[in-house]
Symmetry: C2
Subunit: 372 residues, 2 copies
Amino acid sequence: MMSTSLFTRHQSSSECAARRGELATRHGIVQTPVFMPVGTQATVKAVTVENLLELGAQIILGNTYHLFIRPGHEMIERLGGLHSFMNWHHPILTDSGGFQIFSLKELATITEEGATFRSHLDGSKKFLSPEDAVGVQESLGADIMMCLDTCIPYPADRQQTLEATALTGRWARRCRAAQRRRDHLLFGITQGGMFPELRKESAETLIEIGFDGYAIGGLSVGESKQQMHDMTEATVAHLPGERPIYLMGVGTPEDLVEGVWRGVDMFDCVMPTRNARNGTLFTSHGKVVIKNSRYREDPAPVDEHCRCYTCRNYSRAYLRHLFVSREILAYHLNTIHNLHYYVNLMTEIREAIEKDCFASFRNDFYGRLEGE
Amino acid sequence: MMSTSLFTRHQSSSECAARRGELATRHGIVQTPVFMPVGTQATVKAVTVENLLELGAQIILGNTYHLFIRPGHEMIERLGGLHSFMNWHHPILTDSGGFQIFSLKELATITEEGATFRSHLDGSKKFLSPEDAVGVQESLGADIMMCLDTCIPYPADRQQTLEATALTGRWARRCRAAQRRRDHLLFGITQGGMFPELRKESAETLIEIGFDGYAIGGLSVGESKQQMHDMTEATVAHLPGERPIYLMGVGTPEDLVEGVWRGVDMFDCVMPTRNARNGTLFTSHGKVVIKNSRYREDPAPVDEHCRCYTCRNYSRAYLRHLFVSREILAYHLNTIHNLHYYVNLMTEIREAIEKDCFASFRNDFYGRLEGE
């Protein structure tokens, strides 16, 4: 499947929209469907780049908002870019900062021109236009950049959703025009809230501008799972098959399986890393809350079928001891395990699609979870 | 120098008491002089066992008090011992718990029988006799065990010091008698406070009982550097040359050089690991306080002569960013650097002794520090 074109893919059987692809970036090919660990502040929390490579991560995410605020994109650029700064010489996708600014709530104001907000660190006033968002990401040296989008609260009425979605479209056009180098890929972000016809309109607007890939934004914000799936379908149906599709900020292992089923190629979420630090570990049979006293003297690994560094070397008893003792090693070992779980799930999904057996893989996946 | 005997050593030139030795344990040979990273709660804080091996650690220390309190030595024994529990298959020295119990102050009472104290975790009442201390360490499976000693506050008068030192001697005899297996080495701990004649008496008492090695306790408790050096000399002078000598809880890089100069073979201290987590990094030219704004955009490694993982891959600017952002990776990378500095200092010291040039090494060491 290797190719010089940007994105090549192999469509799964007619049962579902899943596809197996390869996405070419300046720092190498990304095999899709893929999960991208989140490296907010120029580090994936609690692990090294060597850990990420060993557990099979292909591409990581950096947060434009956080790096813009601290240490600053100009400084990172002077130090050779984000790859060099954090010693990760593989693909990096940066978000646009839109979602983080939206999350600041009353500290942020959105106008036609861009987003005005106050730093969560020192309260200082900042401004980010769509052009700035692209400039910051170019300074960071991202392989994949995201357009600045306006996020929509949940629930939101049609008028509010329509206005925010239209503004996202106008900003997307400004982002594309601001781009100085085409070897950094630029993805557009579709919005449209919970309105299928606005999802369609958003997709069509972005396609008309033309992007290297398309993201589905504004999901996993409080809506039901059914709504998330329906809006994913409503968006994917109108996106071109020859471009990668990225479902932003999603989600649980089940969400990943369902997203792939509906044609999504890329995912990111803080869930595996954040849950690791809270002591909740993912396994093929469900979640393990490691502080539970039932694991006090349990010599078994977290998941006996798992081949991650943590499971190959440590018992549940040891991980529980580290966690209740608040040892830094607990966060490190738990994060390795959870990221391996997510990354390995995607490897299995890719293999299943290649063998045209993703439907039976999906059935088995739920069967194992229910077995617990 | 390899030998089947417990401890073989090569005495340095007549200028000083430094010696180059090899100590045989159940988990392998330890090259001395050696620095032992502290692994209080069955982990050297913020690093993995692979990191320890890569940076050259030969032997680590475990804290009997902490492991006795949580998760409990019986549990660790049932899980296969401390080596297996924490996945470190190299030598481990465990302290006796004496110093930690002493540090509990009003929560502890010392009688002829042993130490009664309250857990710092839940306030529950505990008791540890000299026999218990050995039993706990045998359960843990330590390669080198320490006798339970009574610590002496600083300053302390002659009578108080005399009584505590005499009790430490009686406890040492009980520890030796309680030992069930001779393949676990057992070290005696000399006391004697700041009184050279009590230091001598303590050494003679322990030698009469006979131990596999001898520790110097009760230093680095608030006395001057000169007092520390004098008491080290006053103790070493009365210890047998054919046994390893361990200066407990010491110290700064300068303290290590001075200890070796006076004939000490083994050291442990939380300083490199604790300072790492506080952002203070050791270099051959002195300390680097990484949060200092002068390092904000500094592309150089912490120490350009250092070959540790951190210095090979990361800039001061990146380490400063991680530290001010309170990222877990900061503690990890800083700890690797500081432990490498300590371990590498001992490697250089060993090489200097082998070449009979430790006096000039010591001069150069101070010259570099003063050059800063």
